[in-house]
């Protein structure tokens, strides 16, 4: 069974704090993703990594950075947390596949972040 774990289920931080969200997958997947999920706005991609030390901006990268030093670990960093970053953060991973091979994204349980 693929397992994607996230460091915290719930987190409360203050405005201006630096926040680290960690994600670890145990299936040797090349691709890893960070999303945020908000009511009425759905799932939005923040950053994507397709290999160690490689990263690509998603749809809403502003205010975030990422780090992928090891294949199994993908970290999301909020440099200076703001109240509009209060959200549910979801990490996912997938095997790199080409053509019609099914490529499933496996999601972690999510981290609910509240920024006061």
């Amino acid at each position: 069974d693929v397992k994607v774990t996230q460091s915290s289920r719930y987190l409360v931080k203050r405005t201006g704090e630096k926040v680290f969200l960690e994600c670890v997958q145990d299936m040797d997947h090349e691709n890893m993703f960070w999303y945020r999920q908000d009511p009425g706005l759905g799932l939005r991609l923040i950053y994507f990594s397709y290999d160690v030390k490689m990263k690509e901006k998603g749809d809403i990268p502003e205010g975030y950075s990422v780090s992928r030093e090891k294949k199994e670990r993908f970290s999301l960093i909020l440099e200076s947390a703001s109240t509009n970053q209060t959200s549910m953060y979801l990490c996912a991973s997938s095997l790199a596949a080409s053509g019609r091979v099914k490529e499933t994204q496996y999601f972690g349980p999510g981290t609910r972040l509240l920024v006061l």
Binding site: N31, G42, L90, A96, A97, E103, P109
Partner: protein, 112 residues
């Protein structure tokens, strides 16, 4: 305009009903179409995966893709209370290196 639009819901049906969940999209480059199910306080999990147009059936679930109309649907037959969840459609281009575009989700409640 969003690339993927999903019927917003919420949807509430009695147990045993047939449920239809729908998404439309604007980009003809999408080739892979997925449905994810997300239970409350959990991450999404893949339910159905189809390539190009046509139907795919898996138990009580049928995924339908009509590329000419840029329209996809998920049908649930004999719905059960355990089907109560948020359903997200997702789509991927051939050359998108793993990135999917998600709909906003439809929350379904099946009442016993």
């Amino acid at each position: 305009q969003k690339e993927v639009e999903q019927d917003p819901g919420p949807l509430s049906v009695p147990e045993g009903a047939i449920v239809s969940l729908n998404c439309t999209y604007s980009n003809s480059a999408f080739q892979y179409f997925m449905w994810y199910r997300q239970y409350s306080r959990k991450g999404p999990e893949l339910l159905m995966y189809t390539y190009s147009s046509g139907n795919k059936e898996d138990g009580r679930f049928t995924a339908q893709v009509d590329k000419s109309s840029k329209y996809i649907s998920l049908f649930i037959r004999d719905s059960q209370p355990s089907d109560s969840a948020t359903y997200l459609c997702a789509m991927k281009k051939e050359t998108n290196a793993g990135k999917s575009t998600f709909g906003d989700g439809t929350t379904l409640t099946v009442k016993p």
